[in-house]
């Protein structure tokens, strides 16, 4: 009964900001009684989801367990309890940096906040080509947390509610027959909040248990005073295919006890590459230096000798299903016994002594961790602020999601038949709950789910980012169509369109789309348009001027003088002539070109030939995508397929040829068969 709920609702569910944007509120008038979008969880995914939904004009409430101190690394640096964990204080990297840029292109928070808190900038893969360069920055946790909180407070239509969610409420949709719609949530204290859409980002908290040696306690993150959300986990188990994954974090060190003298320093880049497109020419307030050290044979011996003291987890016969690409020290030692492993010593902030030793996440007993640490060069006398641990949590099989990250809710063992048949509309999952690992992956999904949740309550068409548009699209597509057996991390090699999905052009790919969706602010849009205008002006100019090969070689460019004449862009792209050379040749026309434009055009010219090929492939790919398979198509009728394939297809129910192609174990012959039977000219009958 909505009336009752309204009465019991905490007054600050209606934030002041709501009144400011009265026009936008009207557009969501079907939900005036309640809230449009509820986001559960205040981690990276939750913050992006809530902020995106708010930017799009949906009345949004972010429900988090501890309102003030939680955000980020999530509440990593709790004021009461300095030195409490979560994980790595850095944002970006190869693939991950690409996602940060995409989030920023859609006006998300991560890039902006990271630039405010960045204290060490480094672009990874500098020598390996523009397309795979990964901008990364180390954060000051305190500043990040504060800045994120400020950004959220500034976000229109968004308010924050402290509480623990115990259950998700559903109701029969009035129009459709067997469809349930999310109605709201019930909090631990009995309050109910009603909404149109719900984004669930439970991170490591859903059924989370922390393990350190033989000691374990239910929690999502150590020292938070927050419990894992177990009541919700129990309720969700009935309806969702949940299983366990594991992640871990290394111990934290006291910086003063580290002997840096002999360690290789890794200073911040002289010219920091900002993570947000808004911060061109960004200068961090202050930078710190990281150091590199490595494990030794003694370290490995200690780990090996005590590996039996590792906690007993649920998944993978007691070992837990951990991230393959960010493995614990234990599994590194097991897999590569003869290799030493690098450790990056990363300061956690400007005003803290804490150091994060990147690369040695472990869950051995605390005393073993300390003796192990002291075998590492530079750490001979190290003091440990807090031991590393691993956390095992529940995730939902992402193949039970739509490509919008809305759940299809395919129940495994539901008690009621009616539930089993029903679909829940308006329920979105994001972040680690979908089996991913990493801040950026979580934030990307959060943004994506937040946008779709807001679109859904506004009765607008869903936003689908496909694989050719961005790494977020690649990630969502991978998760939703292929599922994942281990924590999913993004890589550039996961994308077929790596040359066009670059960190430098995420805004060109996405900002205009974001503007249409309504999640990009006017300021960013104006900045983007200005940039585009300048780019196209110089692009035009450089492709219209051309010199003969002889003339080029006279100017000292390494072009075969007998070749054909080349335009300015072609000279850069095909012959690697530098833009400085072009400035010499056409000083008048190019004197006002900014460094950013110069860089952008150089990159474009550089990849031009390859991109043409790739664009052709994208065209074909989109064509394949368009070939749809009817929803009720019975793959069992395709007798030429193997039983396994038929079973897989019937379970996954791919709706397009492209989706079918990406299912594990589906061969091209099968795809051919599917194309044959889904061809528009052919009726779907098989004898």
């Amino acid at each position: 009964n909505r009336g009752n709920v309204c009465k019991s609702r905490n007054s600050y569910i209606y934030p002041r900001t709501l009144q400011k944007s009265g026009r936008q509120v009207r557009s969501f008038s079907s939900f005036i009684q309640g809230v449009d979008v509820i986001v559960i969880g205040g981690g990276h995914a939750g913050c992006e989801a809530a902020a995106a939904s708010g930017r799009m004009g949906a009345k949004t409430v972010l429900i988090t367990q501890r309102k003030v101190k939680t955000f980020m690394f999530a509440g990593l640096m709790n004021n009461r309890d300095k030195g409490v964990l979560s994980c790595n204080p850095s944002i970006g990297g190869v693939g991950k940096g690409h996602i940060v840029k995409e989030i920023d292109a859609l006006d998300g928070l991560m890039g902006r906040v990271a630039d405010l808190a960045g204290i060490h900038y480094r672009v990874l893969n500098v020598t390996k080509g523009y397309a795979v360069q990964g901008p990364r920055a180390q954060m000051d946790r305190d500043i990040y947390k504060q800045s994120m909180q400020q950004e959220l407070e500034k976000t229109p239509n968004l308010s924050i509610l402290e509480g623990t969610v115990d259950d998700i409420l559903e109701e029969k949709e009035t129009s459709g027959s067997y469809v349930n719609r999310v109605k709201g949530v019930r909090l631990k204290d009995g309050r109910e909040v009603l909404c149109g859409s719900l984004v669930l980002t439970t991170g490591t908290f859903l059924g989370g248990t922390i393990h350190c040696g033989t000691h374990s306690q239910p929690a999502g993150r150590a020292g938070e005073g927050e419990e894992g959300i177990h009541a919700l986990a129990e309720n969700m188990k009935k309806n969702f295919p949940l299983s366990h994954m594991r992640t871990g974090t290394p111990p934290r060190l006291h910086g003063k006890s580290i002997r840096y003298d002999d360690l290789e320093p890794q200073p911040s880049d002289a010219e920091p590459h900002p993570l947000s497109y808004l911060n061109v020419g960004h200068r961090p307030r202050e930078t710190v230096t990281c150091h590199i050290t490595h494990t030794t044979q003694q370290t490995h011996d200690i780990v090996r000798d005590h590996i039996h003291l590792s906690p007993k987890l649920i998944g993978n016969e007691g070992h837990g299903v951990g991230p393959r690409y960010c493995p614990s020290l234990e599994s590194k030692v097991k897999r590569y016994p003869d290799r030493t492993h690098h450790i990056f010593l990363e300061p956690e902030g400007l005003n803290t002594d804490l150091v994060y030793p990147n690369g040695i996440s472990t869950s051995l007993p605390a005393d073993i961790q300390l003796s192990m640490l002291r075998t590492i060069p530079g750490l001979e006398n190290v003091e440990m602020a807090r031991p590393g641990y691993s956390v095992e949590y529940l995730y939902n099989d992402p193949t039970s999601l739509h490509p919008t990250l809305e759940t299809k809710r395919v129940s495994h063992e539901s008690t009621s038949r009616e539930l089993n048949d029903s679909k829940v509309k308006g329920l979105y999952f994001a972040g680690q709950l979908n089996g991913s690992t990493g801040y950026e992956e979580a934030a990307g999904q959060g943004l994506y789910a937040g946008i779709n949740a807001a679109l859904s309550v506004g009765k607008r068409e869903a936003f689908l980012m496909d694989r050719s548009q961005g790494y977020i699209g690649v990630m969502v597509d991978d998760l939703v169509n292929k599922g994942t057996k281990e924590p999913y991390r993004i890589f550039t090699s996961r994308s077929e369109y790596r040359l066009s999905l670059r960190p430098d052009n995420a805004d060109q790919r996405l900002t205009a789309i974001g503007r249409q969706l309504g999640c990009v602010s006017t300021e960013r849009n104006a900045m983007f348009n200005k940039k585009m205008e300048e780019l196209s002006r110089y692009r035009q100019m450089l492709s219209s001027v051309s010199l003969t090969a002889t003339a080029w070689s006279k100017h000292g460019a390494s072009i075969d003088p007998h070749g054909v004449s080349r335009s300015g862009l072609e000279a850069i792209g095909k012959h690697r002539v530098s833009m400085d050379k072009l400035r010499e040749i056409w000083p008048e026309q190019l004197k006002d070109m900014t460094r950013e434009t110069e860089r952008q055009l150089t990159i474009e010219a550089y990849y031009h030939d390859h991109l043409i090929r790739q664009e052709r492939e994208i065209g074909v790919f989109k064509r394949d995508l368009n070939r749809s398979i009817p929803e009720d198509f019975d793959f069992g009728r395709l007798k030429s397929l193997s039983n396994e394939e038929r079973e897989k297809l019937n379970t996954m129910k791919p709706r397009s040829i492209a989706a079918a192609t990406s299912i594990c174990g589906i061969t091209p012959n099968t795809v051919l068969e599917l194309i044959r039977f889904s061809s528009p000219r052919r009726p779907m009958n098989i004898d």
Binding site: Y325, F491, P668
Partner: protein, 571 residues
């Protein structure tokens, strides 16, 4: 007709650089086909059959876009299309030679959706072989068995057992023939459907009688060219490489052709592709490891260098293989050998000697040969097209000028070149000696005795890189040895050409990685076992390699091999 189109197509290719607009090319093929149709040139039954088989292969090697484009234009299966595809197939594979990263296309086949459910029949043995002892009519499809019952008025013979049956026309009750009937129950048949084979007495009357009768069955329709093979392919009975081999086998005229076709049929091709796929996958994994884990795990770019020798090996192997393919193509078309030289050197006489007949007019007068005279021969088991050309000299006569122009064109397009010189006139060959490129066989004619041969020894040194023969066409001196050597040369007609452009140092390993990925995709497509878990697998491999690679890196760091990934020139 096919020959007309084929040669037009390859001429077109020879005269245009790589990357010619497909559209233009298609138009050219279509127009030459139309010409053939208008003049109603004779077409052999087998032509159609092999055409359509190869057509599927053409489909495979076409660029995906172009293929889709063609696909969409086709509402009805047109024989024209198949023929075009055939030409494209041949030509396209020629152009594939230098493109290691595109060693094939998708297994994406034009599918005639309107007919595959029907039952088709056709004469399966060749028509124009004259009066054969046995002719075979094949019926394939759901109604095959029923048709046989009606024709024989008896129960079906046991599956895959030979049975003697009288066949009569069910309407006229006229006895057509007494034949051997075979019944194959699908999927254990050539096409994978129910198949009936009637081994009839040879002879046109019998065959056409039976075909006419079959044509009156309402469920039956005549098979389109190559339809049996297409059905076999669609039902998974043959992979494309086998289809290609089969088409060659059916059409093979010489022993060497048959051997090569059998080799392809047996699926040896697929094994090689699988091996390549594995190895390319390893190379890709190394690159991906450097890109995605390089910074975290401290894997240096040197790892990529360590991959490069393997990449080079792969390239060489694929090139060699492609040259084999090219050779296969030559077996079908015939290797082109041009005889050129100054006028009256004896080129036409040599041709006549090769042909063992008076193919070309021979006279004392220089400039007798004006146009190109072609003779197709079975030479050491290979079909070879020898071309006699006009003698090259400065001439003012219009027809001769045109003849010389054609001679030069043929010279440019030939696979093997023989420069024939006149021992008596050898002083004045400036222009011609420029045409003696490496690989050209120099033959000095009119060397009738040993004295002359000693006299001519100095001329050997004029062409140090070339094989020089002293022969006399008139007396036959050294001619058997020359022919033997020619046979050897023809066998090794192709020398692997190096088309890679080498980077001085790796400048952008992501581009190299993209090329490798493309290579991998391509090989996967060829083999037809695209592993859709590829990305996962790659990542897994990459991560596993990340560890082991560092060891390799240490080994290589002292003496990094100076290879680079070849980047293919696209212009």
């Amino acid at each position: 007709m096919a020959a007309t189109v084929g040669s037009n197509g390859s001429d077109f290719l020879r005269h245009s650089s790589r990357g010619t607009s497909m559209r233009t090319f298609l138009r050219l093929c279509f127009s030459s086909l139309e010409v053939a149709n208008v003049f109603d040139l004779p077409v052999r039954e087998n032509d159609f059959f092999s055409l359509s088989c190869v057509g599927e292969i053409a489909w495979r090697v076409l660029d995906k876009n172009q293929r889709l484009e063609i696909w969409e234009k086709l509402d009805d299966p047109q024989p024209l299309m198949w023929k075009t595809a055939e030409t494209l197939g041949k030509v396209w594979r020629t152009s594939l030679r230098g493109r290691v990263h595109r060693v094939g296309g998708l297994r994406w086949v034009y599918h005639d959706s309107s007919t595959s459910a029907s039952t088709v029949f056709s004469l399966a043995s060749g028509l124009n072989t004259g009066r054969a002892a046995v002719s075979i009519v094949r019926i394939s499809g759901r109604h095959a068995g029923e048709t046989l019952k009606q024709l024989t008025k008896k129960e079906l013979p046991p599956v895959r057992k030979v049975a003697l049956r009288d066949i009569t026309d069910p309407i006229t009750q006229e006895k057509l023939d007494s034949c051997i009937a075979l019944y194959f129950k699908g999927p254990e048949s050539f096409t994978g459907e129910d198949v009936v084979e009637l081994h009839l007495h040879g002879g046109r009357a019998v065959v056409s009688g039976v075909l006419n009768t079959l044509g009156r069955f309402p469920e039956l329709s005549p098979a389109k060219p190559g339809e049996f093979t297409r059905r076999a392919f669609e039902n998974g009975k043959l992979d494309l490489i086998q289809v290609e081999g089969l088409a060659d086998l059916i059409d093979s005229g010489t022993e060497a052709q048959r051997r090569q076709a059998l080799h392809q049929m047996s699926g040896e091709g697929s094994t090689i592709y699988n091996d390549w796929r594995q190895r390319i996958m390893r190379c890709v994994a190394h690159h991906e490891a450097v890109i995605d884990f390089g910074e975290d795990e401290h894997i240096s770019n040197e790892v990529i260098r360590s991959v490069q020798p393997e990449v080079m090996r792969l390239i060489n192997e694929i090139e060699r293989h492609l040259d084999d393919n090219r050779r296969g193509e030559r077996m079908r078309e015939g290797a082109q050998i041009v005889i050129f030289g100054p006028p009256n050197a004896g080129k036409s006489s040599l041709l006549n000697l090769l042909a063992k007949r008076e193919a070309a007019i021979v006279s004392e007068q220089p400039g007798t040969t004006r146009d190109i005279i072609e003779v197709t021969l079975n030479f050491s088991g290979f079909p070879v097209v020898f071309s006699d050309t006009a003698g090259i000299r400065n001439s003012s006569e219009k027809i001769e000028i045109e003849g010389i122009k054609r001679a030069k064109e043929r010279y440019n397009s030939a696979d093997l070149r023989i420069c024939l010189l006149d021992a008596d006139d050898i002083g004045k060959i400036d222009e011609i000696s420029d045409m003696v490129v490496p690989g050209t066989i120099v033959v000095i004619n009119k060397v009738d005795d040993e004295e002359k041969e000693r006299e001519m020894q100095v001329w050997r040194e004029k062409f140090p890189g070339n094989i020089t023969w002293m022969v006399s066409v008139k007396t036959g001196r050294n001619i058997p040895q020359l022919f033997q050597d020619l046979g050897k040369q023809i066998t090794e007609c192709v020398s692997p050409l190096l088309r890679g452009q080498f980077l001085e140092e790796e400048e952008d390993c992501v581009l190299a990685a993209e090329e490798l990925r493309e290579a991998l995709r391509s090989t996967c497509r060829i083999v037809g076992t695209v592993d859709v878990e590829e990305n996962d697998l790659l990542n897994r491999t990459a991560q596993a390699l990340a560890g082991s690679l560092v060891v390799q890196y240490d080994r290589y760091v002292q003496s990094p091999p100076r290879y680079a990934i070849p980047r293919f020139v696209k212009n």
